[in-house]
Amino acid sequence: MSATTRTTTTTKGLGVSLGATLSTITALRICLAFTKDVSTYLQYEQLLSSPLTSYTRLQEGLFLFNHDVDPYSGGLFYHSPLYLSIFSTIIPNSRFIASLLWTFADALGAWALVQIWRARQGVSSPTSRDSLVAVSYLLNPYTLLPSLALSTSSLENTLTLLAIMLASQRLHSPSLLALALLITLNPSSILLLAPVLLLLAHPTGPKSNLASPSTGSVLTTPLLKKTVLPLFAEFFAYIAVLVGASALTSGGWSWVGQNVFAGVLLPDLTPNTGLWWYFFTEMFDHFRPFFLMVFTMHLLIYIAPICVKFQHDPLFATLLLQGILGTFKAYPTLADPGLFIAMVSVFPEIYSHLRHPIVTTLLHIHAALLLPLFNHLWLAHGAGNANFFYASTLVFACANGAGVLDCLWAGLRVGIEKLSTGEKASEDVEEEWTVVQE
């Protein structure tokens, strides 16, 4: 992943304008939608859509909803009522329209990612890396395939990118609204709330401050009180309105347990690329509540340390939390780690500090080949069993974990290097001290 992008910084950009890249790839996708219905082959793939994001389940839910059966009354439908509202009103529910919608959502996401890149560089004009950044999202197999399978995780990715983009451009209200919408659709994205708020409140915003970690504490009480608190209040107001809209649409509150708490209570154990399903399949029922709590807490526990450690660069904190989400959340699809990998392209300053880029890449290649293979061996071929697929998800988790960890360390190293070289310049301490790096 990073090994690829790493060198592209050294070679002179691809020289293709962003517009051309976006329109070419979008046009190709539309052609694909016209000629071949790829989604029929991919929509049941467990790697590409989880119970919470599956297109077929959305269709089932819409069908039940349109026949006046509460879609949340069975254990089948976990999407937000807002999806029901959207697909039964302004967007006609047809597969062709859906493939167009997903294509445009992807293009929008890529565009947003490019805007984030520009905002981080502090430029508003096109840069030579624009196309590369866009391609890293559009042609990244981890994000492309779920999108072709019409998994709603692609739409949620677009919303994530939009929220971050708007926050980078300091558009408070739209950003918070996008975030609120994202969290209503996919509650586990709550992890991104803190870094996005921080991004909005931060004096230098999305600009890279990795190299100067000691610019002073940003998380001061006045900042929290004066800036973050009102932002949070605004966010909360949006959430309240959206919850109201959801309740209005579904005509009740049965969706709360099925949608909001699905990521916590794990009602559906359909295999996915994450680490939860197998664990909770094997578990005795009486341990379930405890371990559900542990797993949820484990996910939330990263927010504070990462936001505190990277308070000087909240965009980087967002990247790391997205990586953690992709590794540890309850119902991940390939799109979640895919978004993380695409977002890494916005942070070229860490590439030279990555510790094991090739190891991470190789792990990802192994995982990407093993996941579909073992899934097939287990469910289609019948020669393997659940443990095979579980083993491959472990490899995948290792790959994702290695990616996050590598980025984390690289992000810290960028700052430390500056620090130690600075010290060295000021006084010659080399004789007395051994400088060891851990």
């Binding site: 059966v69 039964s88 558009l171 209200s173 649409t249």
Partner: protein, 412 residues
């Protein structure tokens, strides 16, 4: 002194009622005055003192086949063989709890449909006639076994599914299936452990549900299953030692499966030789164990039993030889019968009602799929409402942020 005696007697009489074909009048015992109880007590004392070593008044048998599926044919044959013997020696069907998956006789793979044989020459059809299976198919579970033993069965269960034993009951408990060290598998689905059985027996003892238990088990490593017993008056025997398998006795090459296990075959062979009046003791049975023929080392555990096994008759467990004295004075057993009928009658309306309720619920459900015009209107209103809230919010935020942007540019 009097009060506990009264209680005691009441229980005793009640159990006698159940165990013997002749019924004492429970009503009278219930309602009579103290003098009558004293008289009855005296009568009972005499009755029991006359019975010699055995202090039981009724016999029960719980026969459990914990396996299912065609290839475990032999386990069903084991259990049915035991059933036949127990019945032959006088325990009535009402006192036998037979738990069987019962999927052999009518199995499609059975070349002799409707029959179960325990020998390859098809000499005796164990499924022949008069088989009363009390728990069958998926009812044979660990939970049900424990419930039967400890008497905690649901209220609606019929008498045939209850072990209505008391402190004067001798119980023969036979288990067969696939087991291991301190466990026995139930239908490839769950397991009962040696501790479960031991605790169930203790509960039975405390609830005065048995006088003596004869525990017999035929499975691999069977002897481990009784290693945890700690309640009194239990004689236990098993087919094989820890780490040792129990093997089948013979294969029927027509049916294509093994038809009986060696240990059970040996035991049944011995029991075939005794009748209701036999004076053979349990020690005699144990003496007949032959590790070579049984292909394993059967185990015996008598340390919990007060009576020496060489004085314990086999018929104390395998026969129903409860002594009965006919009491001419109290022959009013019809009242009990009437009582039962009344009970049954009082039950039926309830069931009917519940049936009616179920039906009506089903009926009301049928209406739901038809979508009324109103409902779809309301739904459309709701979805559009939700959507418009979303759109208004979106629009509002965009406009306001744009305005703010222009204001800030003006400011600058």
């Amino acid at each position: 002194m009097l009060l506990p005696c009264f209680r005691h007697l009441h229980l005793l009489l009640f159990s006698l009622l159940l165990a013997t074909p002749l019924v004492f009048s429970a009503h009278e015992a219930h309602t009579d005055e103290d003098a009558k109880y004293a008289q009855a007590q005296e009568q009972a004392r005499k009755f029991f003192s006359a019975t010699g070593s055995a202090s039981h008044t009724n016999n029960w048998a719980v026969l459990v086949c914990a396996s299912r599926y065609w290839f475990n044919y032999r386990h069903m044959a084991n259990t049915l063989g035991m059933y036949r013997t127990v019945k032959r020696l006088g325990v009535p069907d009402s006192n036998i709890i037979l738990m069987l998956a019962d999927d052999m006789a009518c199995n499609t793979r059975n070349k002799a449909p409707g029959s179960v044989y325990a020998n390859s020459k098809h000499l005796l059809d164990l499924y022949g006639d008069n088989i009363e299976v009390d728990y069958r198919g998926y009812e044979v579970t660990v939970e049900n076994v424990i419930r039967v033993l400890t008497g905690r069965v649901p209220d609606h269960y019929p008498r045939s599914k209850r072990l209505l034993s008391d402190e004067r009951s001798n119980i023969f408990f036979y288990l067969t299936g696939h087991g291991g060290n301190e466990f026995l598998k139930f239908q490839d689905n769950e397991e009962i452990s040696a501790f479960d059985v031991a605790d169930a027996f203790e509960t039975m003892w405390q609830k005065k549900r048995y006088n003596e238990i004869f525990f017999m088990i035929d499975t691999c490593q069977a002897n481990t299953m009784y290693s945890k017993f700690y309640s009194p008056n239990i004689i236990a025997t098993g087919s094989s030692r820890l780490g040792e398998s129990s093997y089948s006795f013979e294969t029927d090459y027509d049916l294509g499966t093994a038809v009986i296990d060696s240990y059970t075959h040996g035991v049944l062979q011995y029991l075939e030789g005794i009748n209701k009046t036999s004076t053979a003791t349990i020690q005699d049975l144990f003496n007949a164990y032959d590790p070579v023929k049984m292909k394993s080392h059967p185990g015996i555990d008598t340390h919990l039993s007060k009576r020496p096994v060489n004085e314990t008759l086999l018929t104390d467990f395998f026969g129903a030889v409860a002594r009965v004295e006919v009491d001419q004075s109290s022959n009013d057993y019809t009242s009990l019968y009437l009582d039962e009928v009344e009970n049954a009658a009082s039950l039926t309306p309830q069931t009917n009602e519940s049936v009616v309720r179920v039906l009506s619920r089903g009926g009301s459900h049928e209406h739901t799929p038809a979508i009324s015009q109103d409902a779809s209107w309301a739904r459309a209103m709701r979805t559009w409402g939700g959507m418009s809230v979303l759109l208004v919010l979106l629009g509002g935020v965009l406009v306001s942020s744009k305005r703010r942007a222009t204001v800030t540019t003006l400011d600058t």
